[in-house]
Symmetry: C2
Subunit: 189 residues, 2 copies
DNA sequence: CCTACCGATCGGTAGG
DNA sequence: CCTACCGATCGGTAGG
């Protein structure tokens, strides 16, 4: 046991926010998680809200980077769609606590940061819609596709993964990506 | 303004639980909503938890009835799938507050009722899986379909509707059902 | 259905 | 990083 760092506190906060929610996590709970008293946390952070902002912003960046990589993927529009799905799965499974907090606890943010998160989500969704529209126009997907509505359907599936996926087996991440891609692509064809 | 009834309190509780969450709703908030003091609510209900149980159980019953009706629908397996989707949309759009509370606030329930809700959700999911398996075996859907995984994908889409649907137009409920059915059916074909 | 409370818990601070 | 606290808010109760 070395000294507790700010990073330890942020990581533990993500864990508790993901498991019990922001409102369901007290500073005393968080202190216990890192082996300190609740009041001692204020030597590391300005407050509870700052911790939420930090965790959520990390999630926001992860999804943003993933979306950019998907668009930069060489190949067909279908390859980009697959990269988008694979990237999303990678973020969720690779950073479960951060992803869960980003997806489910944003409403506890102060108005300014909440607006920032909503903007980030809109941009993420816009990237997917862009892929769908391009694919519709170049014949990769069906002509009658509705980028907005079909984008919502796809994101609904992706954003629910953290709720049912269990790390300990049952289905491998690679197979999950395959099945997701297959199901979604069919819906677009 | 007539006398406040227990029903008024339960309805208002559903509204606030859906909007602000169970933890985010205080008995004083709820009292204000119905024009009473927080402490006066205890003349109508035993406690805050009882209100959550009541709202969530109403949601549970609505989805259960809807699933049964879908299975009892005459016609092809595809017709049953469509009825399942239409029923789900009907419950969500027709009882937004109850559906939201059922879908998002069950974790605030005491262990016994939470177990009940999980069992109800499992049964609902089992009904959908049954439709998928039957349809796979009778040729309505593709042979390689995975009832469990594809059922999760479908429910992911259905359970997210309350998060983005806006009652004031944009898309009609009938068109939503059509688009959902089209997208899902393609994923199963 | 209100008045007047209760004990518990919350986020956070002063001072060391 | 702890001690000792603070004001606010919470769910809930006694008595009318």
């Amino acid at each position: 046991m070395t000294r507790t760092t700010r990073e330890d506190v942020v990581t533990a906060a993500g864990r508790l926010f993901a498991a019990d929610g922001y409102d369901g996590t007290s500073m005393r709970d968080l202190g216990r998680e890192v082996g300190l008293l609740g009041s001692s946390l204020y030597a590391h952070v300005a407050g509870k809200q700052e911790l939420l902002v930090e965790v959520v912003m990390r999630g926001s960046l992860l999804f943003e980077d993933s979306a950019r990589e998907a668009v930069d993927t060489p190949g067909t529009t279908r390859d980009q769609l697959r990269a988008f799905i694979a990237g999303h799965v990678g973020v969720v499974l690779g950073h479960l606590d951060v992803a869960r907090t980003f997806l489910n606890e944003a409403r506890a943010l102060d108005p300014e940061h909440r607006a920032q998160v909503i903007a980030a989500r809109d941009a993420y969704e816009a990237t997917l819609r862009w892929i769908l529209a391009v694919g519709r126009d170049n014949g990769s997907f069906r002509a009658g596709l509705d980028p907005k509505l079909d984008g919502i359907f796809i994101l609904s599936i992706l954003n629910a993964i953290d709720r049912w996926y269990q790390a300990d087996g049952v289905i491998e991440p690679e197979r999950l990506v395959d099945e997701l891609y297959e199901f979604v692509l069919a819906g677009l064809s």
